[in-house]
Amino acid sequence: MNDTQKQALAAYLIALGDDELILGHRDSEWAGHAPILEEDIAFANLALDEIGHAVVWYELASDATGENPETHPNHLAYFRDVHDFRCVQMVELPKGDWAYTIVRQYLFDVAERIRLTALAQSNYPPLAEAAGKIKGEELYHLRHSAAWVKRLGLGTAESNIRMQHALNELWALAHQLFMPLPGENDLTPDDIVPVSANLLPEWEAVVRTAFAEADLTPPAANTSPSRDRSVHTPYLIDLVTEMQKVARLDPDATW
């Protein structure tokens, strides 16, 4: 990789890490508040995995640009300005009701699985190796959220309506996951990362089948409101302020 590509890869990995960190943050908000105790546990575990994966991506990004992988991930999470985060808007939105949480998680999990499968073939071995490792854990997430899509889609009239509403709200937003990530265009020619748009057809096929089996229908509109990962919702400001409030009490202190 040349220097431009190293910088591009870091930007790409930070964006992936941001998706995981912010979604993990939302998942963690369920701890103690889920509909059944088993889900308090499951969602704490999901959050643990997502945030753990964010750390893996941030460490790889640090390696690519010669930053210290011990300290740089914390810098990225705690001392970056909110406008420098590169997550998709879908993960920023408040946790909503259980249907909203499940639909978002499912849409994300399928996309992530497809991306990880592609990244596991990367020409950059550290990336391929990390993706292969994470993929195993993500399979459990996907099974979990897919099972919930079915239960709630086919449960009661109310659960079906709530799921349909959530799907209506999230469907277009989820398409932002298939817009080019920061740095992507510098990396695809050498097969370091996949072309995001090429992952879309498989995702659509998988999720449409699952929704059909759960008596749910994606809406017609599928254009993401934002292409650009530097544009955020106001919810991200509150989230990042909360996340960073203790660390920023004294940036030089050891916590």
Binding site: G52, G155, T156, K245, W255
Partner: protein
């Protein structure tokens, strides 16, 4: 009247069974779910185990508020794992209580209606990051002493749940202590934060062991039937002896002006606990009782449609021809 009445025959049989039950406990045998046990033993265990389960579940709340603002990614992951464990402990304990005939629904209902209690310590608020350290070090530290004793309890399922829980609790306590150590060695502000948290959590932790032995209405029977093997005051003394030197070594003080070392017994002697505060919090008037119960009720009510959907889906699966 000739011979014994039915009641007397039953009573005689009861006495024999009770004698055998107590002999088994004296021999150190475990009582298992299908075994004969006095109703009072069953009642006390359901009360204790469900209260313990509720404490784990409500205990997720104060620490849960700091998952989203834990100051490093590592601390965040550890805290998440800890809160996840607490949910898991709640789950094992509900299962242990179910072996005595209580159902999860009844137990939850008792919690939400305010009939069942949970550890009063969780009715105090977590105000700063240092509270994550104080909760781990003091609250979990106190809990471990109680749980280590309960791991030897005469009821098999409770004892086994406790053995499993204790291993994880030791890790929780270490993470708390590690936070306090880091803060105590940090900046002036961090030291002040740690001291403030210790000041606020010390007495609630001391109260976790329950009333003095002389005022504990359940202690006698629990000791006799091997559910507890040590008294509230014995455990509390062990806690003080363990914590005071640790805190002093870190340059932190204990908020008890009467605290002193007794050369003769080798004990740290603590001042009197504010029992009015203790009973007041138990009665529901602590700083966070209303907030904790509101959070649990909200989770329960918001989850109602989810649980209905799960039941409907399960019924639908069952109805489907294979």
């Amino acid at each position: 009247m000739y011979g014994a009445t039915v009641d007397e025959i039953e009573d005689a049989a009861y006495d024999d069974k009770l004698a055998e039950f107590e002999a088994r406990i004296a021999r150190g045998e475990k009582i298992e779910p299908g075994d004969w046990m006095p109703d009072e033993y069953r009642r006390q265990l359901i009360r204790m185990i469900s209260q313990h389960a509720h404490s784990e579940v409500v205990g997720m709340l104060p620490e849960g508020t700091f998952i989203t603002s834990a100051p490093t990614l590592r601390r965040k992951l550890i805290l998440l794992a800890k809160v996840q464990d607490e949910g898991g402990h709640g789950q094992y304990l509900y299962h242990a209580a179910e072996t005595l005939g209580a159902t999860r629904e009844e137990m939850l209902e008792a919690l939400l209606s305010g009939k069942a209690k949970y550890a009063s310590v969780f009715n105090y608020p977590a105000l700063s990051w240092a509270d994550m350290g104080a909760i781990g070090m003091l609250v979990d530290g106190a809990a471990i002493l109680n749980q280590t004793m309960l791991a030897r309890a005469s009821y098999g399922p409770y004892s086994r749940a406790m053995i499993r829980i204790c291993t994880e609790e030791n890790f929780h306590q270490r993470q708390g202590e590690d936070i306090i150590i880091t803060l105590a060695q940090g900046t002036e502000e961090q030291k002040a934060m740690a001291q403030d948290a210790i000041n606020r959590w010390w007495w609630p932790s001391m109260m976790m062991f329950g009333p003095h032995d002389s005022d504990s209405k359940n202690s006698e029977i629990l000791l006799r039937w091997g559910v507890k093997t040590r008294t509230n005051d014995q455990l509390r003394q062990q806690f003080v002896n363990q914590m005071v030197p640790k805190l002093h070594k870190l340059g932190l003080s204990v908020p008890d002006p009467d605290l002193h070392y007794d050369e003769e017994s080798g004990n740290w002697i603590h001042g009197e606990i504010d029992w009015d505060e203790f009973w007041n919090v138990i009665k529901g008037n602590g700083p966070c009782n209303a907030e904790r119960m509101a959070a649990r009720r909200k989770a329960h009510e918001d989850g109602q449609w989810v649980r209905e959907a799960l039941e409907a889906y399960a019924a639908r699966q069952e109805a489907q021809p294979a």
